[in-house]
Symmetry: C2
DNA sequence: TTGAAAGCGATACCAG
DNA sequence: CTGGTATCGCTTTCAA
């Protein structure tokens, strides 16, 4: 039906050149007020909107940021945690006139070395969400295109923003120790990700600082083997000097351990305290309510958006690794240390 | 560092024209084998990839499909249900050489009548995910751009694909009745969405077919007021002839009701059976395991992708409303009817 | 203040 | 089978 209305149509209707139309629409200024009004009226009446392809070709920018998940959309969004981050991202990028391209490593990159959309100039920058192997990240670095690790970090010259796992560890231990806890289990998947490592390190540092004796530690290789985690926890619980608190790398793991503990007859928090990380929506769906480290997800997204945009605008600034503050949330899953 | 390598560079290196390069890369054929090899070699050695902006401008297609959430990313992905749908979508679209643009109504459209990215030709089609008000959908229809309602449907000439709520209702009732249940509560938010309506209708039809007497029905206006749902359920449970089964419009609601029932001391399923819909990952995080209607989410996504691509390729075909089969999954939350 | 024109990178027609 | 060239819609420089 409706003819695609180009900038020429507007120019014709406004009795001016396409250059003037463009000037009115972009570099607002250097156009006479009268002409400006005429152009605006024409734009309005024709319902003209700039065509992205034309514009992008000319300015050599796509005004789009790629959002790359690892390993897949499904796995990422299993953590509702990421939902809110994505929302923060989108809000901020949209406001800046940017669009968001969605892709997962599994579906889009696995056999391509570098994402197709990246190399074709479909995006001006790319945000990585999920636990990307360092090797893969390094591959992406060969491109000039700006990169950002969101809620992740590795030892490579790439911008990143994560939450302050170091501070979190200290705060967790402080609280638990005050409640009489002395023996702990820390559980988390083994990752190259410095974000995760930071959490463990924060925890261990805090214990060391307090001269607490040997710390039980569980750390399992391989993906999602929560059953194995639990087996090890249970073994420790049956030992002579059982841990009284379980600290998990994230809420999903914490909740799962808590449920298994309960099914085995352990009382939480009476016998074992459990602490998570992220403050995922999930934590309110379980009983007892999970104590956890609150991460301001919206802010995480927003900061991520700002960082990638800044780098897109100015590729030369030095690499930035940002740390966002966290807040402890003590709910029902933590109590005084159990003593026989 | 690396100069952006255009089709001209390739042509120069291969000692041929840009037309020939394009021919080699696209309409594979009508080019001599020898030239073809030369071009391919040049492409390889230069690491050339087609620039999307140029191509899209020329062919007047973006090779991108928009994914629009309602109301927001965060709310959509609170249902991990959608995560898998999105994965299916992405897989299929990627395979077809398409990209995915992500946006939410709240952030991108709320003040724009029609999505900016749509009207600017950033997408060739748009998939709507979530319970969009009919009014909004109608607004989108003014564009020529293909639309698809995924896991949603309204009485408008727009393609859609949903699961067979009618069949599900029948299957649920059949099973419950066989277990001795005679009095039920159906709960679900009031929507214009025919997808949801279908589920309720399937349920009611099934009861009618069996000449079961008056059916208790709870249906609340307003968003997310699960507390009010539960209040009504509880009132019914305290009546003379209490329902013995609660059937919910989705797993999230079912799980929440189940938890509240348990906290009030009701035994599930001994005293009340609970049935959900979707087979969300969530259902495995609760005890008893929720009985539900399994929806093949990957397939839903895949079918959605096929439908939108088909319409993009052929805008003239008649509107299609598709119904996908479901499968009942009986787990722990359903048992024989409770009798005093 | 305004406009003519170049050109971004690619496709596709048409002539050779 | 191959290549010259017009063209897609827009931004931007430069001259008027």
């Amino acid at each position: 039906m409706s003819e695609p209305v180009s900038i020429h149509a507007v120019a014709k209707k406004a009795h001016c050149s396409i250059a003037t139309v463009s000037n009115v629409l972009n570099r607002k200024g250097r156009v006479g007020e009268k002409t400006r009004q005429k152009v605006l009226a024409a734009v309005e009446s024709l319902g003209y909107v700039t065509n992205s392809a034309g514009r992008n070709l000319r300015i050599n920018r796509s005004e789009t940021i790629g959002l790359l998940f690892y390993p897949s959309c499904a796995e990422i969004f299993q953590n509702t945690f990421y939902a809110e981050i994505t929302a923060g991202l989108e809000e901020c990028l949209t406001q800046a006139g940017y669009h968001l391209l969605l892709a997962s490593y599994e579906a889009s990159v696995a056999h391509t070395r570098v994402p197709d959309f990246l190399v074709r100039g479909k995006v001006d920058g790319m945000i990585l969400l999920g636990a990307f192997p360092k090797k893969i990240i390094r591959r992406f670095c060969v491109t000039e295109t700006p990169l950002l690790l969101l809620d992740a970090n590795v030892d490579l010259p790439v911008d990143s923003v994560v939450t302050d796992g170091l501070a979190a560890g200290e705060a967790i231990v402080e609280h638990l120790v005050a409640l009489g806890h002395r023996r702990f289990v820390w559980i988390g998947y083994t990752h190259e990700d410095d974000n995760i490592r930071l959490r463990k390190q924060g925890f261990l540092d805090a214990l060391r600082r307090r001269n607490l004796p040997h710390v039980d530690r569980t750390s399992i290789e391989g993906v999602n083997d929560n059953a194995e985690f639990y087996r090890q926890i249970k073994a420790r619980l049956k030992s002579k000097r059982p841990p009284t608190a379980v600290v998990a790398v994230n809420d999903g793991l914490a909740v799962d351990m808590m449920r298994q503990l309960q099914e085995d007859g352990y009382k939480v928090p009476e016998q074992v305290s459990v602490v998570g990380y992220d403050d995922d929506l999930l934590v309110e769906k379980v009983r007892p309510l999970l104590s956890t480290v609150r991460v301001d997800k919206k802010t995480l997204g927003r900061v991520g958006a700002e960082m990638i945009l800044r780098r897109v605008a100015n590729p030369e600034i030095p690499v930035e690794k940002r740390l966002l503050p966290v807040e402890l949330v003590w709910r029902e899953s933590v109590g005084p240390a159990y003593s026989i």
